[in-house]
Symmetry: C2
Subunit: 341 residues, 2 copies
């Protein structure tokens, strides 16, 4: 059973994946090899993954070719779906069982196409699978947050080349999300305005950091970008929850996301990247405690963070939490705007 452990000084949870305990020699192998043989995400190899959790397909049999988007449990899950949390002290430390969900969203049967190479309909199907899985897992009272993320390229942590996203449901609110939630709530408490709406308004007004904008969505390089060519995508109008998007909104989002990913791909010669979807946490869907009034619908604004992985984390970043970004976001946005897509 994997274990969640709490660091009392950094106030941070860590997943100790006790079931695949690694010996020093395992890391030597990891550094020396890279390739793999048969792709478990291609048509005909469905038996190489655990059985599908949810799938979009036109009539073909389960766990057989013919699917369009396919969701399976991660074969090497960081967290386990079965069991109770068993929160406990360990001396002065804190632990709980590593309960959660860890799923793989196989985006297309096409091994060699990246997400932005798919048709708009195909991309919209992937996005609607994100929505469906988020909404389903939120019903599990053990989970506080559902994160959808995508690793593209081995430098970004992808162990398989076939296009896929992942999803992790966690039994605690992750620290990065908690800091964002807290900032948004503080801002709303002081001003009765959404901090993301304020930022979007300023970005659209100054325009120097905008990468793409249409009637529904805007993407920009954040003022304090950690990484070169970092991009944040958000709905222009206030919307706290990715889960409420209807199919028409997802079709419009597919068009916007494809444009942004193509701009990054063409500007930077198909770079490795991560993206992470920060939607509302699960807890607001549960009955509120008496006397506790949540403003999450008013203070939170869902967004997607896209991080091209062009620089390396080193001792300075680990020791400080600061980042050194060699490309001003205004320059990055100009390059991304000017490339032809």
């Amino acid at each position: 059973m994997p274990e969640l452990r709490h660091d009392p000084i950094q106030k941070r949870w860590v997943i100790i994946a006790t079931e695949r305990a690694r010996r020093p020699s395992d890391f030597r192998i990891e550094r020396d090899t890279g390739g793999d043989g048969k792709c478990p995400f291609c048509y005909g190899n469905e038996g190489m993954t655990p059985p599908e959790i949810r799938v979009f397909r036109d009539g073909s049999a389960a766990n057989a070719p013919g699917w369009k988007v396919r969701v399976v449990p991660n074969k090497f899950p960081a967290l386990r779906i079965e069991g109770d949390l068993d929160r406990a002290a360990a001396g002065q430390y804190d632990r709980m069982n590593g309960i959660g969900a860890h799923e793989v969203i196989i985006e297309t049967p096409h091994h060699d196409k990246d997400l932005p190479d798919l048709s708009l309909d195909e991309i919209a199907l992937v996005l609607s699978m994100y929505r469906d899985r988020i909404m389903d897992l939120r019903n599990d009272p053990r989970f506080r947050y559902v994160l959808v993320f995508r690793n593209r390229g081995s430098a970004a942590g992808a162990s398989l080349a076939h296009p896929h996203s992942q999803l992790i449901a966690t039994p605690v609110t992750p620290r990065t999300v908690a800091i964002e939630l807290e900032s948004a709530r503080e801002h709303y408490t002081a001003k009765e305005r959404c901090i993301f709406c304020d930022i979007i308004a300023q970005e659209l007004a100054t325009h120097s950091r905008v990468v793409a904008a249409d009637a529904d969505f805007v993407s920009w390089c954040p003022y304090a970008s950690r990484f070169p060519f970092e991009v944040t995508l958000a709905p222009r109008r206030h919307e706290h929850d990715f889960g409420v998007l209807d199919d028409q909104a997802l079709a419009r989002l597919a068009r916007h996301l494809r444009e942004v990913l193509l701009r990054i791909k063409r500007s930077l010669d198909d770079p490795p990247y991560n993206y992470m979807l920060h939607t509302a946490p699960a807890y607001h869907l549960k009955p509120r405690r008496p006397g506790y009034w949540s403003t999450i619908e008013l203070d939170w604004h869902w967004h997607l963070e896209i991080l091209p992985r062009l620089t390396k984390m080193a001792g300075f970043e680990w020791g400080t939490g600061f980042y050194i970004n060699p490309t001003p976001p205004e320059d990055a946005a100009r390059f991304l705007r000017e490339v032809t897509v």
Copy 2:
């Protein structure tokens, strides 16, 4: 002039290094090449670096061969030493000039020896250079924190193979340090005990995570290690400030640090790694505000964090601030203890 920019949602500062603005094509080059010609840190190439700030040498001329440890400004500094902070608003954002120090500590003239391959006397000289530079830079009222760190191996962000450490003095307390300071103060306020002393006592008592211990120092794999084979080193007895260590203490630290680094090197086949020294911040040396009583001497405990870089950061880590560690720290500590040094 580099610029410090504040992210209002993540409450994090970022250094935008405006002077070496990078175009997309620069990153393509970075991914394709790696090597370099003449090493600027070797004897005879002293002219390739800016003039030395401080040096240990026996009588030879400045900026010429014959030195033992040599400190020079970073040729491509993330922060500039000259100027005023000029704190200002930028719309709803916050910025200040990128003022600070960024120095390189060239540890030895031997290009091919890593730090633990040096003699104990040589390692102690490097440590005393850390102490001297920290104490000197703390006198500059513009700086809040001085971080010494070391990147070893290109996967850990080292751009040069010649053994060296770096030092950055920042005009704001870095977020990672601020969280640790806050945790330490909260613990002390509640219990009148140092949180690090409590942790060290528990680690020595359970012993399963201890890597090395002698009369003065202890190194252990933290209970909630983020990374496989992560190690924290600290003095056994309460000591808030690395800057107060005398030469005898530094000689003992050299022996302990060499042992720990050799255990990591031999267990993991000379892995890339970072280490970061978290000593007391600079502000406690300044006159205290009326009515403000600092407990930093009582609540803080200096320590060195050593991070072998065996796994990659991916979307999950970026999106949550959580980490997935495939090697339980108890297993890592056992491997590190059992290797012969």
